[in-house]
Subunit: 117 residues, 2 copies
DNA sequence: CAGCATCCTCACCGATACTG
DNA sequence: CAGTATCGGTGAGGATGCTG
C-alpha cells in the first residue's frame, strides 16, 4: 500500500481518496491509462514525457497496491508489461470527472478575471 | 492566488482543481465551512483541533484567493471574522461528493481485505 | 479573538547511473 | 524493454512565540 504520503485526515472519505490520487501525477496517469488501456510502460512514458521514470514506476506501483490499476507481466524477451485500470479504478475515474469539469470552469473564471488588466 | 504548491500538470482540468484542494486540509476545510457556514475562525479551530493555526490561516487565505470561500471582517473589539463558501466553492463541494463516496467504499474494500489475517 | 513571524524537519520529487 | 539504486534539493507543513 502506498504509504499515505502525507498523513491526510480521513473524516468524510475524502482523505483516503486524496491519498490515492494525491501524488503529483497520479490522477493524470489514471486518466491516461483509462483512455489507452491496456498500455505498456514505454507508452506511458511517451504520453507523458515530463514525468521521470522513477516517479512513473513509483506511482504505478502505489496505484497497483491501492487496487486501482492492474499490472500484467508477459515473460518474454524483451520484457513486456501492460497496465490497465481495475473496476475500482474505473469508478475512481468516474468520480474524478466532476472535479475535472470544475477545474476547467475555474480556469475560465480566473482567466476572465485576469484579462481586466 | 495560491501558488500551485506543486506544479501540477493541467491537462484535462484536474490540475487546477487539485491545485485548489490539494493542500493537506483544504478539502476538509471546504467541506466543514460548507456545513457550518457562516463560521468563525475559532469555530474552525474547534472543529478541527489537529490542524495548526498557521496552516488553518494559510489554507483559508489561499482558498479565498482562489475564490472558493468568502471572508467577512467585522471591525469590532474583540475582532470577529466569518467564513463562508462562495458559489464556486459550493460547486466545488458538489464536485467533491462523488470522490468522498468513492473514498468510503475504498476504505471498506481495503479493510475487508485486511481482515483475511 | 484572530492572526503574523520564524525556525526547522522530512518526505516528495528530480537527476543520474546501472541491471535482468 | 522495463525497471532498480542512490544522492541530493526543495518547499509544504509543524512548533512555538508574539501582536493589534
Amino acid at each position: 500500500m502506498a504509504r499515505k504520503q502525507k498523513n491526510l485526515p480521513d473524516s468524510c472519505g475524502l482523505g483516503p481518496a486524496l491519498a490515492v490520487i494525491g501524488g503529483k501525477w497520479k490522477a493524470l496517469l489514471l486518466w491516461q491509462i483509462h483512455q489507452a488501456q491496456p498500455c505498456r510502460f514505454s507508452e506511458l512514458k511517451r504520453l507523458q514525457p515530463e514525468i521521470s521514470e522513477k516517479m512513473l514506476i513509483q506511482h504505478l506501483r502505489e496505484m497497483e497496491a491501492d487496487g486501482v490499476i492492474h499490472r500484467e507481466v508477459f515473460h518474454q524477451v524483451p520484457p513486456r508489461v501492460e497496465y490497465s485500470v481495475t473496476s475500482a479504478g474505473a469508478e475512481l475515474d468516474h468520480a474524478l470527472a466532476p472535479l475535472a469539469e470544475w477545474g476547467k470552469k475555474h480556469l475560465e473564471r480566473t482567466e476572465a478575471a485576469r484579462e481586466k488588466s
